[in-house]
């Protein structure tokens, strides 16, 4: 429907009303639409449709001749289901290493200097603190170096946007600290198109985390030894402090942020301000709308399932080479691929694994 068609005749007779209508149309277009919700809800509705179709599908006719076989069929099916469930329980959450140590990453000085892309097929990393690269995990492709604006600082952290088209790069400098947003195309070498998100004297930033819609970035802001989590819009100049703590990770629905305070993983509900304690650990990462994976103080991985009034935690079986030494797990969008940073002697190593 064209906009003009909505204007009734009496409204159009008044030119000032026409101006007002045009203004309303402009403002209507300025009200944002949550396209991520649109995609997620579509999947949810399709799932519900499948359930409804099953509920409404006709039941098989009850015939005397086939009843005995049906009973055996039910028993047989049940046995198969039980076996499948047992098999699922045995193999579920197993982490299988694809590459125990990714080559060339020992130049990274901290776990947050290497990040797994949402597609699980690329990584971005900082080498020697002053060079930024992306590289595919398959061996037959070359890495790409990103040339950022010439500054004297060192890159402290890197984080992919959920679209995989941007990186947040934290620059640490003795005078000024910055967060850059870098446009990237993981499929090819690019001279980076970048813009400055935030710049501040006297505050150190780290652990940036993109909101699910990529419209905001949460990060740790440290001043005078005090760590706080702040959120900055990637579109406007708006920013706000959300809580005290560090290592924020945005929930898939954008309504909560997992974070660390005093060595304990907690979840902040952004709507209510309620903080929920999950357990001792670091580097929380949402792996489902109600599940958070994090590293225990002993260097292993735990998955916490957030029930309505309780938290159920299970250890994730990790490869022997990484056991008791894990620093951080960085997950792909579908939570199947994992980049694991772990202590290897005096330095950090980065392994690539898949979850089954």
């Amino acid at each position: 429907m064209r906009d003009d068609e909505r204007m009734s005749t009496e409204e159009l007779h008044d030119s000032t009303i026409t101006d007002l209508l045009r203004h309303l149309q402009q403002l209507r277009r300025a009200v944002p639409v949550n396209y991520q919700l649109k995609a997620e809800l579509r999947e949810k509705l399709l799932e519900r449709m499948r359930e409804m179709e099953l509920q409404h599908s006709p039941q098989p006719p009850d015939r005397d001749v086939g009843r005995r076989w049906s009973v055996w069929g039910i028993y047989g099916g049940a046995v198969v289901l039980i076996l499948a469930a047992v098999l699922l329980l045995v193999t579920r959450d197993a982490i299988v290493v694809r590459e125990e140590e990714l080559a060339g990453l020992r130049m990274a000085q901290s776990a947050e200097q290497v990040a797994l892309a949402p597609d699980g097929e690329h990584i971005a990393y900082v080498a020697n603190g002053d060079r930024l690269y992306t590289r595919p995990l398959s061996e037959d492709q070359q890495e790409s170096r990103f040339i950022l604006p010439a500054t004297t600082g060192r890159y402290r952290a890197v984080a992919w946007s959920h679209s995989g088209r941007q990186l947040a790069v934290v620059e640490e400098n003795q005078q000024v600290n910055r967060i850059w947003l870098v446009e990237t195309d993981p499929d090819g070498a690019v001279r980076a198109s970048s813009r400055l998100l935030k710049e501040e004297k006297g505050a150190v930033y780290h652990t940036p985390s993109w909101s699910p819609d990529n419209l905001s970035i949460a990060y740790t802001r440290m001043t005078g030894g005090k760590e706080e989590i702040w959120v900055s819009s990637t579109l406007s100049l708006q920013e706000k402090r959300v809580t005290e703590g560090s290592q924020p990770d945005w929930s898939p629905d954008g309504g909560s942020i997992a974070f660390v305070k005093g060595g304990t993983v907690s979840v902040l509900n952004l709507r209510t301000g309620e903080v929920r304690t999950i357990g001792p650990g670091t580097w929380p990462a949402w792996i489902a709308p109600d599940q958070i994976a994090y590293t225990t103080p002993q260097g292993n991985l735990v998955v916490a399932r957030l029930e309505e009034k309780s938290v159920e935690s299970d250890m994730l079986p990790v490869p022997a080479a990484m056991k008791d030494r894990i620093v951080r797990a960085d997950w792909s969008r579908d939570r199947k691929e994992i980049l694991i940073s772990y202590q290897a002697g005096q330095s950090l190593a980065f392994g690539f694994a898949v979850r089954r």
Partner: protein
């Protein structure tokens, strides 16, 4: 549940007879694809907290799916879905009159590859200003204007959603626009 709801693959739906003037033959998923933006935008405008608006949008389409076999297809889907959306909004307002976080605090802006912070802030301010002025109108006037200009419904569709006559909606719309115009011109004079 009609088979027309299968995953985007729609079995042919035939009009019941040739003398039916309007017949909606599209599947639920096709209608969802078209109307999500309008419903989400309408609720984001009416509810100050965008997360609440998104929750309400989810509720609207889940309700619509459950009731889709009750949709007659001989009336516009827009009226039907916005009746659900409007009722869901009214229920929400009745249940929860407080919004703990304002829309502008959450930066829930439309994704835009163009870096225009000043433009963005300006538009936010304008939207907030309009919302303030709409709050000075009566409930009926707000309902009519938001359904008509933010949900993009026609007069007769607004009338169906609100259960009013078309002439009544036209009159409310006309008076609301005049009032809004005066508020813009005269610096928020409340002439109700």
């Amino acid at each position: 549940m009609g088979m027309a709801m299968k995953q985007g693959v729609q079995e042919p739906v035939s009009p019941p007879s040739e003398n039916v003037e309007y017949f909606e033959s599209r599947s639920f998923t096709e209608l969802y694809d078209e109307y999500f933006d309008k419903v989400n935008r309408y609720l984001r405008y009416r509810v100050h907290n965008p997360w609440d608006a998104d929750d309400l949008t989810t509720t609207v389409f889940l309700k619509a799916l459950e009731k889709f076999d009750q949709y007659s297809r001989t009336s516009p889907f827009a009226s039907w879905i916005f009746r659900i959306a409007h009722n869901t909004f009214v229920d929400f307002v009745r249940r929860n009159r407080e919004t703990p976080m304002d829309q502008e605090e959450l930066f829930q802006d439309e994704a835009d590859d163009t870096w225009q912070p000043e433009q963005n802030l300006l538009t936010n301010e304008e939207v907030l200003l309009l919302r303030e002025r709409l709050d000075m109108l009566s409930q009926d006037q707000r309902d009519v204007l938001t359904l008509r200009y933010f949900a993009e419904l026609k007069i007769h569709q607004v009338a169906e959603v609100l259960g009013k006559s078309e002439s009544s909606v036209k009159m409310i719309s006309y008076r609301a626009l005049q009032q809004l115009k005066r508020l813009y011109e005269g610096g928020n004079r409340d002439e109700r």
